[in-house]
Symmetry: C2
C-alpha cells in the first residue's frame, strides 16, 4: 500500500476552511472560483463544500500551465496585447451581483521564466487593464473573497528541486496544510483564536498611532513614516457587503500604509523576491524623502530596475507589514516563490499601490484624499521581505518617544 | 515499453484538423473553446494549433465531470434554477466581436443518469435560457464554429462496458480518429474529397426539389413531406462572417427541413437514443398531419413522453437526414451515446426545431416566413435514427413521380 502524497482528509479540511473561514460564503451566494487544472482535487472539494454551505451557483474558471505555455510558444506577436475583456467584464458583473470570489494558487511561480520577457510583460499589462473592473471590486472589498493554495507538482518541484516529485509534493502539501492551520483537528477554532491574536496586535498598534517605525537589522536602518489617519489591518476583515472573511489563507501579518514621502534610510532584503518568473536576490535600496534613489541586487538587478521604473509610485512604499520570526511559515524555512506564503514569513514592505482599507474610514475616501494623507499610488504592488531573527523595530510616537515593537524578530510585548 | 492508449500523432492531427478544417480559423481571429478537463491533451494541442494558425487570443472554458456531480450531490434545491448568465452573455459578446467557437466533447454522455431527473431538467432549462444569446449566434451561423471529440475515459467505459479502461479508451480513440479522418496521412485532403462528395449529393437533391421522401424498412413506412423552399445542406458550410467551416467533425449526413404538417405513417428507431443521461430504446411512433399521435418505447417510454410533451413543436419534425449504411461510423457498429457520432451512423429524423440554413436564402428569413414554409419551431432538437441496411427511400416529385434515392441502405445512384 502506498501513502498518497497529499492527505485527502487535510485536503477536505482545507476546502471546508477556505469556504467557511476564508470566504464565509453566505447561503444563496454565488461563487466565482479561479484555479489551475493542477489543483482540481481541491477545486472539486471546494465546489462540494460551497454547495454544502448553501451556494447559489459555483462557477470554476480553470487555467492550465500547458495551455499558457502553448500561447507563449506558438502565438503571433500581436496576440500578446490581447486579453479576454468579455470574460473579465463578466466577472465584474458577477461580483456586482453579489458573487464571492475564491482564487486557488498552485502552479509553478516561475512558469514563464524561459519565455520572451517582452511578451510576458505585454501580456501582463493587457491582462491587468482588462481585469481592472473586476479587480477594483476586490481591492475595494465590495465582496467577500479569499486566496488559498494547492500543492501542484510543478510548484513543488520548484520549492524542492532536489527531491523526487512525489516527495516534493508531499513536503509542499504538509507545509501548506500547516500554514493554513488545517493539520489541526478543528481548523475553524484555530482560525478564530489566530484572528483574535492578530486583532489584539492591530488594536494595540492603532491605539499607539505611531508616526513612524524604525527598522534595524543586517543591512537595514530604515525609518518608515506612517500615513496620516493610517489604520492597521490583519486577520479577518469586514467586506462592504457585510460579510467578515479572511482574504488570505494563510495570513500572519498586520499591515498598514506608510507615508509616500516619509521613508528614509537603507533596507536589505532578507529573502529573495520572485517576480513574474524572475528571481531577484540580494536587494539593497536607499530611500530619500520616501523615494528609492539607489537600488542594487546581486541577481536580477535589471528586472529590479525595470520594476522600479514602472511608474513614479513604483519607487515608493504602499505597505508595511509586521510578521514575527516565529511565524509558522518562517519556521518552515522554505522559500515558496509565492507572495501568499513568503510575505507571511517575515516583516515586509511593498513597493507601489497602498490599500484604502488601511486608512480610518478608508472606504469613504477618494483617490485625492488618500494621496493627501500620504497614501501612495501605482500600477504595481510588490511585497519584499526585510525582517529576520535580528530585526528590531521601534515605534516612534508623534511626540518623538520610542516604544519597542519588535526585539530580535519577535513582538516586544 | 507500453503503447499509449491514444496515439499522440493522431491526436496532433485531430487538433490540426479541428482548427484548419473544422473552424478554418482566420489569422487574428479569437477562439472561445469549451471542453471537459478529461480532454486536456486535445485542448492543449488545439490551443497550440490555433496560435500556429495565427489566432488572436484563445480562451478555453473547462468543465469537469466531478465538479458537475459535486453540484448535483450537494447543492440546495434553489441552485438548480441558476445559470451563469454573466459568462454566457460574455461568450455572446465574444462571438459578436468575431471570435470563432469550438466545442470538444469527451465526457460520459450518461453522467447524470443517477441524479434527480427534476434537478437535471431544471438545471438544463436554466442553462438553455441563459445560453440562448450565445447559441443564437451559432445557430444563425454568424461565426465559424465546430464540434470535435476526445476519447475521455468515462465515455470510453460507457461505450465498452466490458473492456478494461485502457483498452476501452484505445478502442474509442481509434473509432474517433477513423470517423474524423485523422488516421489518414493527409486529413485535410481527405476532408476536401469528402466535402466534395457531400456537396454533389446535396446538389443533386436540391436539383430534384422533391415534395416528399418515402422511407420503408423494418417497422417504418413513413412519408416525410419537405418544407417549401427547403434546401439540402451537408459538409462544409459558409458562415455569415464569410468563413467556410465544417461544423461537425465527423459529419456524414446531408439534411434538410421537413414540412411540419406533412408527415404521415409509422417509424421505428433503428438504434437506441441517449437523451440527457437516459436511454430510450425500441421507439415506435405514428405521424398524422405531421404530428406524432402515438408513441411507444420498449425502454424509457416515460422519458420519451416527457420529451414529446416539451412543447407543441416537440411532436413534429425539424430535420430529415440521409446517411448511407456504409458510412464509416455505421460500419464501426458502435453506439457512442453521443449525437455527434450516432447521427452520422444512419438516416435520421429530428424532433423539434428546424434550421433556417435549410431554406433557400434562409439567413434572410424571419421566424414567420420560416413557419409559413412549413419549418417547425420548438425548444428541443433531438435526432433519432430510423435508417439501416434494409432502408429504401423514394423521392416523390411535385408531379408525383417516384425517384429511387436509397436502396438497401445505400445511395441508389
Ligand atoms: Zn503584506
Ligand atoms: Zn502586500
Ligand atoms: Zn442531423
Ligand atoms: Zn440534428
Amino acid at each position: 500500500m502506498t501513502q498518497p502524497s497529499i492527505d485527502p482528509q487535510h485536503l477536505d479540511r482545507l476546502a471546508e476552511t477556505a469556504v467557511r473561514v476564508g470566504l464565509n460564503l453566505q447561503p444563496g451566494q454565488d461563487l466565482v472560483l479561479t484555479a489551475p487544472t493542477s489543483a482540481l482535487p481541491l477545486v472539486r472539494r471546494v465546489v462540494a463544500a460551497a454547495y454544502r454551505a448553501g451556494a447559489g451557483l459555483v462557477t470554476p474558471l480553470l487555467s492550465d500551465e500547458e495551455v499558457t505555455l502553448a500561447r507563449y510558444q506558438n502565438a503571433p506577436d500581436q496576440s500578446f496585447d490581447r486579453a479576454p475583456d468579455w470574460l473579465y467584464d463578466g466577472m465584474a458583473r458577477a461580483f456586482g451581483d453579489g458573487a464571492a470570489r475564491m482564487a486557488i494558487v498552485g502552479d509553478d511561480p516561475m512558469l514563464l521564466a524561459q519565455e520572451d520577457p517582452a511578451h510576458v510583460s505585454r501580456a501582463g499589462k493587457a491582462n491587468s487593464a482588462a481585469y481592472r473592473p473586476a479587480l477594483e471590486k476586490i481591492a475595494n472589498f465590495d465582496i467577500n473573497w479569499t486566496i488559498a493554495a494547492y500543492p501542484g507538482a510543478s510548484w513543488a518541484r520548484r520549492v524542492f528541486p532536489d527531491l523526487p516529485e512525489e516527495e516534493a509534493v508531499a513536503r509542499l502539501a504538509k507545509a501548506i496544510f500547516a500554514a493554513s492551520r488545517v493539520d489541526l483537528d478543528d481548523p475553524v477554532a484555530a482560525w478564530t483564536a489566530h484572528n483574535e491574536a492578530l486583532h489584539l496586535r492591530k488594536a494595540w498598534l492603532n491605539e499607539q498611532a505611531f508616526a513612524a517605525l524604525h527598522f534595524t537589522g543586517p543591512g537595514t536602518d530604515l525609518t518608515v513614516g506612517l500615513a496620516d489617519d493610517h489604520e492597521w489591518q490583519g486577520g479577518a476583515s469586514l467586506a462592504n457587503n457585510g460579510v467578515i472573511c479572511n482574504p488570505n489563507i494563510p495570513s500572519e501579518e498586520v499591515f498598514t500604509t506608510p507615508h509616500a514621502e516619509r521613508v528614509e534610510g537603507t533596507a536589505r532584503a532578507s529573502k529573495p523576491l520572485s517576480h513574474q518568473g524572475s528571481l531577484i536576490d540580494g536587494i539593497e535600496v536607499t530611500f530619500e524623502g520616501g523615494r528609492i534613489t539607489q537600488a542594487r541586487a546581486s541577481r536580477g538587478e535589471a528586472v529590479l530596475h525595470e520594476l522600479l521604473d514602472t511608474d513614479e509610485g513604483a519607487r515608493r512604499l504602499g505597505e508595511v507589514a509586521l510578521v514575527p520570526h516565529s511565524s509558522p511559515i518562517s519556521q518552515s524555512g522554505l522559500l515558496f516563490y509565492n507572495t501568499l506564503f513568503d510575505e507571511n514569513a517575515a516583516c515586509h514592505i511593498a513597493l507601489g499601490q497602498c490599500y484604502a482599507k488601511c486608512f480610518r474610514d478608508g472606504e469613504t475616501l477618494g483617490v485625492d484624499e488618500i494621496a493627501e494623507r500620504g497614501g501612495n499610488a501605482s500600477m504595481i504592488h510588490v511585497d519584499w521581505m526585510i525582517g529576520g531573527p535580528e530585526t528590531d523595530i521601534d515605534g516612534i510616537t508623534p511626540g518623538g518617544t520610542r516604544v519597542p515593537v519588535f526585539r530580535a524578530g519577535e513582538w516586544a510585548r
